[in-house]
């Protein structure tokens, strides 16, 4: 069986390369983590224009921070914290008040009835998106195709990623395992992990 070639470039290397002036590395960081930033923008009741502005602001400010971010968990945490703060400021500018957790959107109505569950679901989704950013493009694409509603067939995935149908199962398992080991998800459910580390992040 052929082991598929894959990029093993880590987020920390991308950050270093971008700090050194690599446009390609910067673009890959955007591809990996723009869903995380956008997810946070979508949770606040911002117009599409405001959400776009917040996103641009977050990435602009990252250009000033590249030298100071040393590990992947720190990058995702910094992006999330900065996006959240800017969303809150925008929300406050429009409404004159600080949003509460219940002003954010959750599409799943079943979770609305329970505020604790709702918050946990939001935190989980944010952490999952942060963790996905640590996977190479192939891994992200594979998992997102499998996680689609409805999921894409193995045939479609095989064609799209150019891998044999027989190796999709093992590859799926391998990327899910990598996802679990990511700093964003490590220890999730215990007292440590993304949510806690994230809360302590300062600008």
């Amino acid at each position: 069986m052929t082991e598929e070639p894959e990029s093993t470039v880590e987020v920390a290397e991308l950050v270093r390369a971008a700090a050194g002036g690599s446009t390609a590395a910067w673009n890959e960081l955007v591809d990996r983590f723009s869903p995380l930033v956008w997810n946070i923008c979508m949770r606040y009741k911002l117009s599409a224009a405001d959400a776009s502005d917040v996103s641009q602001n977050v990435w602009l400010r990252l250009t000033e921070r590249l030298d100071t971010i040393r590990e992947p968990a720190a990058l995702a945490g910094w992006l999330a914290t900065t996006a959240r703060r800017e969303c809150m400021r925008t929300f406050r500018g429009h409404h004159g008040e600080v949003p509460t957790a219940f002003d954010v959107d959750v599409p799943d109505s079943a979770e609305r009835t329970d505020p604790d569950r709702e918050l946990l679901a939001l935190e989980r989704r944010e952490a999952v998106l942060a963790a996905l950013g640590e996977l190479p493009e192939r891994g992200r694409t594979l998992l997102l195709m499998l996680a689609g509603d409805p999921p894409r067939s193995y045939r479609e995935i095989s064609d799209a990623l150019d891998i044999p149908i027989g190796s999709i199962g093992p590859t799926r398992a391998r990327y899910l395992e990598r996802l679990r080991r990511s700093p964003a998800l490590a220890g999730f459910g215990a007292d440590t992990g993304y949510a806690t580390a994230n809360g302590g992040e300062q600008r």
């Binding site: 971008a18 446009t23 910067w26 673009n27 955007v30 723009s34 869903p35 930033v37 956008w38 997810n39 979508m42 949770r43 599409a48 959400a51 776009s52 502005d53 917040v54 996103s55 641009q56 602001n57 990435w59 602009l60 400010r61 250009t63 000033e64 590249l66 703060r85 800017e86 809150m88 400021r89 406050r92 500018g93 004159g96 008040e97 600080v98 959750v106 599409p107 799943d108 679901a121 989980r124 989704r125 944010e126 999952v128 998106l129 996905l132 998992l143 997102l144 499998l146 996680a147 689609g148 509603d149 799926r172 398992a173 899910l176 996802l179 679990r180 998800l185 999730f188 459910g189 215990a190």
Partner: protein, 156 residues
């Protein structure tokens, strides 16, 4: 303790699906804009950090609606130098401490830069621009590059 959703392959995939569905596709224009800002990074320039923002600090203090300030005040600091900017309805007025006559440049990712004079007292006034990201570049007349600096990007 590890949660079931994390240890079970199918549940973890379901979480990925839920996260992707809640986010939706990131618009192409948003990704393009995020990639484009890399060209705007400041290289080898002194960066003045935002040290005070009346809006953010009011949030931290738990200010309520009635306490909102009509004027947003920003302060950028770099060593002993500070740049105060008040965001008014029709203009951006500010002062450089210590005063150093020269030029202040208002930069934005999408618009041409605007320039104004910094007077003997360090005061300047720029026209208000459409809301968005801006940064201020200070170019003193006399001392050249040594005391030039640029501020952090800030959304006004």
């Amino acid at each position: 303790m590890t949660s079931d959703w994390l240890s079970d392959d199918d549940l973890l995939l379901a979480e990925i699906g839920a996260a992707a569905a809640a986010t939706g596709p990131v618009p192409d224009a948003v990704i393009t804009a995020a990639k484009a800002v890399f060209e705007l990074r400041s290289l080898d320039e002194e960066l003045a950090m935002l040290t005070y923002d009346s809006v953010a600090d009011a949030e931290l203090a738990g200010a309520v609606r009635s306490e909102r300030l009509a004027v947003r005040s920003l302060v950028f600091g770099l060593g002993d130098v500070s740049l105060d900017v008040d965001v008014l309805a029709d203009s951006l007025v500010g002062q450089l401490h210590p005063p150093l006559p020269g030029t202040i440049v208002l930069e934005s990712p999408t618009r041409p830069p605007l320039r104004a004079e910094i007077d003997e007292l360090g005061m300047f006034s720029l026209p208000m621009v459409a809301p968005g990201d801006v940064r201020f570049r200070v170019e003193p007349r006399e001392s050249g590059d040594a005391s030039a600096f640029v501020t952090q990007w800030t959304r006004i």
